[in-house]
Structure formats: structure tokens, C-alpha cells
Symmetry: C2
Subunit: 379 residues, 2 copies
């Protein structure tokens, strides 16, 4: 078992519904509820509730950011190396919270959840949600936990989009924003890759217009979507280092379609197992939320988007990330600086592509630990 700093953790659910909770007003204009939120927390809230850090997960992530649910867990949470006693998100000092996003499939209400009006899973009756909608749900969770102001909101990729949106939607409720491998708007190329994934799922006959719950899932379509996604998370160099041109379990070409390169076999395995933990409709909904994300477009300009933010910002981009390349991180930095905001930016020379924010824990960890101390002093 890999070591985990926080040890065993228990996920919790909270449901926002009923008289005291007005149904969520979505960005689309639609009212939606009830919403159940799955979350985990590591470390303890201090007496004045000022040491909370909200971790925001990426596309295929979940609330299980650190620790293990039990003895049988083979691996700890997805950011375990970053969260724990003495780790960058130091649970001796901070209370670290992570929740599954709205539209997800790991405990928070999403297209696979039961629609109380029909008693059946939502499927495509689930509303199209946005990054802002996710953040609004997170805000309810944070208030539910009695927290007025987060010490920080932190995430990579889609998680970084949420961190940016937090500073805009709730400027008084977040002292620091940590934005890794992220962007203020999805590029045309990014939309194109997402469109391929959605097409692959929707072309699978088992998708059945989103109504496959209780039946066979669109496993082939989801696997192909995941394969495409996976390529975009890595880099040419990291794939070369990891796989090169080695064949799977053979030395010579077979001159038929049974022989495979290791990279092919790896991707097919990753695609094939993804269906065990991820819902195809969530893939469709979350990729759409990412496609829609465009702070400059939404608020008139990127500078205007950040007009009312009061948070300190830490942005990190990675040289080999070609999905959300450094120039996109720099656009955010420039917009913030032009508005006189407090922003630190580092581009890390790192070979792991977009996944660097999950894998490069040492240098990134030092930056984050130092940033959190600065925010803490001034919060």
C-alpha cells in the first residue's frame, strides 16, 4: 500500500433541499434541486473557522482527494501526496475539504442520480450545468459547514476553472486562489477534443440517448473518449519515455492486428477500466461545462471578470502541458496584474504534460505551502 498522510477517511453527504434551501438557480435560468453533495475533509477546523481550504477536482476526479476509505483501498485519494500532516496542504494547520462537482458521478447529484419527479435516473433530463453552477453548490456546502471565508480554493485543470470562478462569484469568501494547469477559456482545440469524446459516447448504440442505467453502459464509446482524453493529459516526451515504441509482450511485429504497441495496450486498458468508475453521461455534461467556460466572453473581458476579486492568486503552468498551454495561464496573470491584483505566477519545466499538476508534487508543493502561509498571514 502506498503511504497516506491522512490515514482512513469517511466520505459524507449533505443534501440541500426543503424549506430553508431555495432550489439552486442555474446559469441556464433553470431551478434545480434537491442537490446532494458528497465531500470529504482532512484535518480540523480551527475555532474561528478561518483555516479551511477547498480542493476542486478535475474532470475525472472526485471528493476522495486523500487518505483511504478502508483497509482494502489499493490506492489513496487522487491528491494524497499533496494533502496530509506536513504536506503542502498541511492538515496539521488547515482543514482541507473536497467535494464531488455538480453533474458528477461520485456521490454528488448528476445525470445518473434519481430524478425525484420520475423516480428514474435523470439521464438527459439533467440540466446542462456550468462551472459557475458547480461553484454555487460548493458555496452552499461551505456555508453549511459554518465557514464564512475560505483560506483558499485550489485546483488543477477544471479545478482551476472553479478556483477562478470562486474569486469572481464570492470575492469576500475566498482569501487565496490556487490555479494549476488551467485556463480562463477553453480553446477551439480543447472543444474539438471534447466533441470527439462526446461523439464517441453518443455513437455507442448502448448509450441509447442517455437511458442506459440498469442496462449495459456505453462502455466502448466511453473507453474511446477516455483514450482521447488520456493522450491530451500526457505529453509527446512523457509518452516516449514511458512507452517508446516497445511492443506489448513481443519483440517482433506480428503483421496482424493482434500485435500491439505498449502505448496502445495501456490506453485500451485505461479506457476499458474507466467505465467501472465513471458515468458516460457525466462525461458528456462535464465536458460541456468545460466547453462553455470562458471568463472573458462572459464578463466582457478577462480584466473585467476579475474586477471585484479580492483574493491573492497563485498560478502555475507547466512547459509540457499542451492542452492548457502556459500562454493561457499567462493571459490570466496579465489580466490580474493589469487590474492591480496580487498574483504569483510560475511556469514549471516539467515533462508530464497536463497531468503535471497531479504528478509534480515537490516544486509545486513548495510553491503552494509558501503561498498558503502568505495568505494565512494576511487573511
Amino acid at each position: 500500500m502506498e503511504s497516506s498522510g491522512v490515514g482512513f477517511v469517511t466520505p459524507r453527504d449533505v443534501t440541500f433541499a426543503g424549506a430553508e434551501d431555495e432550489p439552486l438557480l442555474l446559469e441556464s435560468g433553470r431551478r434545480f434541486g434537491p442537490v446532494t453533495v458528497r465531500y470529504e475533509s482532512y484535518g480540523s477546523l480551527n475555532a474561528d473557522r478561518t483555516n479551511a481550504i477547498l480542493i476542486l477536482h478535475a474532470f475525472s476526479g472526485d471528493a476522495h482527494a486523500a487518505g483511504r476509505h478502508g483497509e482494502t483501498d489499493r490506492r489513496p485519494g487522487w491528491w494524497d501526496a499533496m494533502i496530509g500532516p506536513g504536506r503542502p496542504f498541511d492538515t496539521d494547520r488547515y482543514c482541507v475539504i473536497c467535494s464531488n462537482v455538480l453533474g458528477g458521478c461520485q456521490g454528488t447529484t448528476g445525470p445518473g442520480s434519481l430524478d425525484p419527479t420520475t423516480g428514474r435516473p435523470y439521464g438527459l433530463a439533467f440540466p446542462v450545468v456550468t462551472i459557475e453552477d458547480m461553484v454555487n453548490v460548493q458555496y452552499r456546502l461551505v456555508r453549511h459547514l459554518g465557514i464564512e471565508r475560505l483560506l483558499a480554493a485550489a485546483g488543477g485543470s477544471m479545478g482551476g476553472m472553479q478556483a477562478l470562478q470562486w474569486t469572481i462569484s464570492y470575492p469576500e469568501a475566498v482569501a487565496g486562489a490556487i490555479v494549476l494547469a488551467s485556463t480562463a477559456r477553453l480553446s477551439a482545440q480543447g472543444i474539438a477534443f471534447n466533441a470527439v469524446g462526446r461523439n464517441a459516447i453518443m455513437s455507442d448504440a448502448q448509450w441509447n440517448n442517455g437511458e442506459y442505467y440498469g442496462k449495459a453502459a456505453p462502455a466502448r464509446g466511453l473507453a474511446i473518449a477516455r483514450m482521447v482524453g488520456h493522450i491530451t493529459y500526457l505529453s509527446d516526451a512523457s509518452m516516449h519515455t514511458k512507452f517508446g515504441r516497445r511492443l506489448q509482450e513481443r519483440e517482433q511485429f506480428g503483421f496482424d492486428f493482434s500485435d500491439q504497441f505498449e502505448v496502445e495496450s495501456y490506453l485500451e486498458y485505461q479506457g476499458g477500466t474507466f467505465v467501472d468508475r465513471f458515468d458516460a453521461n457525466t462525461y458528456i455534461y462535464l465536458s460541456k461545462a468545460i466547453d462553455y467556460f470562458d471568463l472573458g466572453g462572459k464578463y466582457g473581458s478577462l480584466e473585467a471578470a476579475f474586477e471585484k476579486t479580492t483574493s491573492k492568486f497563485l498560478l502555475v503552468s507547466y512547459t509540457s502541458d499542451w492542452l492548457y498551454p502556459s500562454y493561457q495561464g499567462k493571459e490570466i496573470v496579465v489580466a490580474l496584474m493589469r487590474r492591480g491584483k496580487d498574483v504569483s505566477y510560475t511556469e514549471l519545466d516539467c515533462p508530464y504534460g497536463h497531468d503535471s499538476f497531479l504528478l509534480e508534487t515537490e516544486r509545486q508543493g513548495a510553491l503552494i505551502a509558501s503561498f498558503l502561509q502568505t495568505v494565512n498571514r494576511h487573511a
Copy 2:
């Protein structure tokens, strides 16, 4: 109608079979035949047959490199801007020939051709062929046309692989090699993208293990494969310039799955129409041939691969080509120079990604015209 320099052209077929033509010995060790080759030619052979240039097409290309087949052709051949009187491949001086590759679906024998032993299309009974096998078929065509030595073999992408293989397989038969946007070996990332395409096709129920001829083709799978491929042929910058984040025929998000970004709509259109001109099994076979291509692996080292070449080389790479990035072109140049070969290399600063070799006709054209004159003087 776009203007075409060469005007109307007629494709020709030649079949290698019977007593005088030993069946082709494939790299796999399998004997295969008969093979029909579809080709076109533009310009005239001179009396001593020393002015022939063989154009080698890329993955989804065909023998129709220039001109029109008739009045109703909406567009001329795929490299028309480069071929014609006064154009870089100057048909006033050179006889330009282009043939469809072995395994193709545009007139040359491929998986969709009739297997004479069964009377039915080959499907997966077609042998796995390689870039070297394609070149061996081209050599037969060239000899059939009475040409002892080509003035040049020229191509981009998979066409560049063939040009490199020509200089190795038939060092005395090719005076110049023009290699654009190409590589001496497919990268792990390139294999991964090809694997996604093959998976998409093979996951389409209509693919039916390759036996779909005369029935519905695996159109959705092929469309998805094409969408992925298309993204890799463009660049982040060119997609941003061409599509940005514009929505298709609307101004505001629809918050449902009927609204699309222009780039999505474009890719779906490209994918959807591809099936009209391309065979899914050819996609599988040609992508496999590209995956197998690795001159260094095959000959021990890239330097060793070029040991016996006598051709002059012109290599061009393009700054925005992330599928076959410039460093891969430079590896070829370094290997050639270490063996004292005659090589010219240019990296063109061009925004169109891998497709630059199809689109950047002016600067690339000048380089090619000049190179051909040099080769011609010394041939």
C-alpha cells in the same frame, strides 16, 4: 471553380500479375498479388526518361494530385497548387506521376478490392502492408513506365516516409528526395492517436470484423477516427484563428446538446463526409503501416538506414506541426549529415500545423523548385 494548372487529367490503372510479374514479396514474408495500381501523370517524359518525379501521397490522399477529371469536378487534385506549368513541380519541365498506395481505397489494390481466390472483398484477409511494401509497388510502376531513375520522389507526412524509404530501397533509382512534415519513426503519441482511430472503427457494430462491403459501412466509427485525425493535422493557433469560440448559427449558449461550437460542427461535417470517399479498412491498414514505420529500429540505427543512399535530400518541417514536430525532421537531417549525405533542411514558420505541407505553397514551393533544379543539374 478553382484554377488548375494542368487542366483535365485521366487516371490510369496498371495491374502487375501473370508470368512476367512475380507476386510481390511483402515485408511480412507473405507473397501477394495481383496488384492493380491507380496512377495519374502530368507533363511529359523526356526522350531519355530522366525528368520523372514521383509524388507520394499522405494518409488520406490518392493518385489525383493535380488537375480535374472532368467539368463537374468541384476541386482539383490535392496538391494542384504545387503541380503545373510554372508551378514548383513544373509540368513544362518534369513528368509528374502520382499513384495511390498499396492498401488504399482509391483505385490501387486494398482491403476493399476483390480477392480473386474468393471473389469477395479481402476485408481483414488483406495482408498487413508496410511503407516499404508501398514503395516496392511504386518501383514496379516506375519500371513499367520505362523509367530507370526518378529525378525525385516527393511527399509529405506518410508520403515523406515513402520518399525516405525510396532512397534506402532503391538508392540508384532516385536522384532527389523531398521529405515534408515527416518523420523516420512514428512516436508513441502518434501510435496512440492511430490506436484511437482504429478502436473507434472496430467498435462500430457495422464494421463487423471488416466485412461490411455491400452493406452499411461503419460510418460513425470512421467519422470519429477522422475527427481525431483532423485535430492532429491542425494546430491550436490555426483552430483558434479559423473557429475561435464561435457558436454555430447562434449567439448565446442554448444550455442543451443541440448547440454546437463552429469547430464541433466543422469536425462532425468533415467526419461525416469522409466516409463517402474513404474506406474504414484502409484507415486501419494504412494507420498500421505508419505505426510500424521506424527506420532506426529496422536498420539498427537511423545512420545505418541511410548508409547506401545516394540521393540528395530536401527536408522541410513546420513550426506548428505537433504531430511530426520539427525535432523529428532534425533527427533525420543529423543522421544524414553524419553519414556525409547531401541534405538541405528548412524549418518554416507556419501556423497551419501538420497540414502546412498542403497549404504553405509559396515558401515551400520556392525551396522545392530550387532543389529540383539542383538535382537536375547533377543527376
